[in-house]
């Protein structure tokens, strides 16, 4: 709680206190139990999923041997990387354009920018499917562009919804930034570009990176849009796993799932460690 009153008084007294603690504990158990179960049973030496029959690494071996899974992972990585880079550049530019300038049509653009965030992913999937269905032949006219491979369509779709997420995160960071710092830079003989590169960008970098992380996560997580847009032979891992899941539960799916979970958790922890390193400066600032 803010405003420095003894934190202990914020807690309710008596019975409520224990009820609150118990509830919170249960919620955390609720959060993690399924993940733990998944993790544990990926080592289960059995085709059935519920009963423990012995420890094995067999499913992980199967995962390592599975060519299709590897291809899908590789596709996901490529799509993720390309779409994140593009989304970060466009999202950061649009954040700057909206926060630091005033121009005609700005409000409309701002509104449009919010749509991909609130749109249901089913609607988005439908939109992209229908759009590419109608216009693929137009795009293929451009030399070097071949939408039938699916990779381009995936990247294009992912960028379409990720620009907004990056923009929101960067804008939040920009809004908190003191505009007088950019004035100071100008006062100290920097031109617009130098002021951006030397003063603004370092300041918004945590926001840019946060937006990038968000874009990566959303891209990896995406199932519906990707499955509508992906072509045969170019399915990202999420779509591939989804296909496997529809067929039923299997320990192979478990091991693949655990690998994916571990990857995303590591990503989160890594970014937390990174932001802690840069955030410690912020804490020192607050000391004065």
């Amino acid at each position: 709680m803010s405003k420095g009153v003894a934190r202990s008084t914020a807690e309710p007294q008596g019975v409520s206190r224990w009820w609150l603690r118990g509830h919170s504990l249960l919620v955390f158990v609720f959060f993690y139990a399924p993940i733990v179960v998944l993790f544990v049973f990926s080592f289960n030496d059995s085709n059935a999923v519920g009963n423990w029959k012995g420890f094995t690494l067999g499913w992980y071996e199967a995962f390592l041997d599975n060519q299709n899974v590897h291809e899908s992972i590789w596709i996901s990585v490529k799509v993720c990387l390309f779409s994140t880079v593009i989304a970060v550049v466009l999202g950061t530019a649009s954040a700057l354009a909206l926060e630091r300038f005033r121009w005609w049509g700005q409000k409309a653009f701002d509104a449009v920018l919010y749509l991909p965030i609130i749109i249901p992913d089913v609607t988005m999937a439908v939109m992209m499917l229908v759009f590419f269905g109608e216009t693929a032949h137009l795009f293929n006219v451009i030399p070097g562009v071949d939408l039938s491979s699916g990779l381009e369509k995936l990247v294009l779709s992912h960028v379409a919804f990720n620009i907004s997420f990056v923009s929101v995160v960067v804008r939040a960071r920009l809004a908190n930034l003191d505009a007088s710092m950019e004035e100071a830079a100008a006062d100290l003989y920097a031109n617009r570009w130098q002021a951006f590169r030397r003063v603004t960008l370092p300041q918004i970098m945590p926001g840019v990176l946060g937006g990038a992380l968000l874009a990566i996560t959303i891209s990896l997580d995406d199932v519906v849009v990707s499955s509508f847009v992906a072509a045969v032979g170019a399915t990202p891992i999420s779509v591939y796993v989804f296909g496997m899941l529809r067929k039923g539960v299997s320990p192979l799916v478990n091991s693949v799932s655990v690998v994916m979970l571990t990857a995303s958790i590591s990503l989160v922890l890594a970014s937390l460690v990174f932001s802690r390193a840069t955030g410690s400066e912020r804490e020192e600032r607050l000391k004065t």
């Binding site: 007088s180 004035e183 100071a184 100008a186 006062d187 100290l188 030397r198 400066e281 020192e284 004065t288």
Partner: protein, 365 residues
């Protein structure tokens, strides 16, 4: 208001400067209204006024952070026109310092030099000079987040001064500091300015600050420059009611001009005071409370202006006593030293208040 000082190439010249802000809906605000001002080279000049009077806007226009709607701004004779701030030979110390948090003190200070492509060797020397100037040598490798308010302020100062600007602009830089620190910094700024010899243009709403530090003060109100003069002249000879009221404490007695050297107070009493206003003009006679003396009725010495009234209130202030005197329906505050030598008055006493003609000013507005 026109003002001239002699000497070659004044540091800053503003002529007919206007700034209007308008939004889409059509409402317009005139922040600065036809300002003429000349600031001499090497001067410590303060722009003084209440919030919203246009002083900060004027400063920002000199810096180039705002562009004037109309008018001319010259720095040492060179017209600035529509030049952006990065092409003007001036630097600014911002109110919240605006230090770059991701750079060390040394890098902050060296930023302007870097932008102007000063060779590295010279840069180090200059940064060193600036750091020594503000006595921040030990903290050169800290980041702003690790500094106190006062230290940040010094860094902001050094960062501006290191570029040896033709004019240094300061936008209420001491506002965030506590009283003791502020007074210390006022003294230091004044000394620094003398030492470095650069023209300082200082914006503040604190009249004590302006009076302490400045060579000259320009008092602004509602976008207009009311009076430009030395602190003493502004204090002793204010030309408008606003200036008299804004600086220090003042008494006001409503009056009408009878002739070039006589005014008639609202209660009919005539006083021999000279003024520039035409006959019949409504004016106010203003005298500082400490320039008034209270005597027992009828015992005031001759040769001074006399006002007869009654003590309505006595306030003890430690080093002074303030008497609230009622003169017919008008009111005066008289400030007397609280020494034993001066006789005390009580509420209800009939008294005569006296003052020397030279301590009174006739103001319009």
């Amino acid at each position: 208001m026109h003002d001239t000082t002699d000497g070659p190439r004044p540091a800053v010249e503003l002529q007919g400067v206007v700034k209007r802000f308008g939004d889409r809906s059509g409402t317009e605000v005139t922040a600065v209204d036809d300002l003429d001002l000349t600031i001499a080279d090497g001067e410590f000049f303060s722009l003084l006024g209440p919030s919203g009077c246009g002083k900060t806007t004027t400063l920002r226009m000199i810096a180039g952070l705002e562009l004037p709607t109309a008018g001319s701004i010259r720095i040492h004779g060179e017209e600035m026109g529509l030049r952006p701030p990065n092409r003007r030979p001036v630097n600014t110390v911002f109110q919240n310092y605006a230090l770059f948090p991701h750079m060390t003190v040394a890098k902050n200070i060296g930023f302007g030099l870097e932008m102007r492509k000063v060779p590295t060797g010279d840069r180090a020397e200059l940064i060193d000079w600036a750091i020594q100037l503000v006595e921040m040598g030990a903290l050169a490798h800290r980041k702003p987040g690790q500094l106190s308010g006062g230290q940040q302020q010094r860094v902001a100062l050094a960062r501006a001064l290191v570029n040896r600007p033709e004019v240094l602009l300061l936008d209420e830089p001491l506002g965030a500091l506590d009283l003791k620190l502020r007074q210390q910094m006022q003294h230091e700024l004044k000394t620094l300015q003398r030492e470095v010899g650069i023209t300082f243009v200082y914006v503040t709403h604190d009249q004590e600050e302006a009076v302490t530090m400045s060579d000259r003060i320009g008092v602004m109100h509602d976008g207009r420059l009311l009076q430009v003069d030395t602190p003493e002249a502004i204090y002793e000879r204010p030309t408008t009611r606003f200036v008299a009221d804004f600086i220090g404490q003042s008494n006001f007695l409503e009056a009408t001009v009878a002739s070039a050297d006589e005014v008639v107070l609202a209660n009919g009493q005539r006083l021999r005071l000279s003024s520039d206003s035409p006959s019949g003009e409504a004016v106010a006679v203003t005298v500082r409370p400490e320039r008034l003396t209270v005597h027992r009725r009828g015992e005031a010495p001759a040769g001074l202006h006399h006002l007869e009234g009654r003590v309505e209130m006595v306030t003890y202030m430690g080093n002074a006593i303030v008497y609230g005197i009622g003169i017919d329906w008008m009111h005066l505050d008289v400030r007397c030293p609280a020494t034993l030598a001066v006789e005390r008055r009580d509420v209800g006493d009939e008294v005569t208040v006296s003052f020397e003609p030279r301590h009174a000013a006739v103001v319009t507005g």
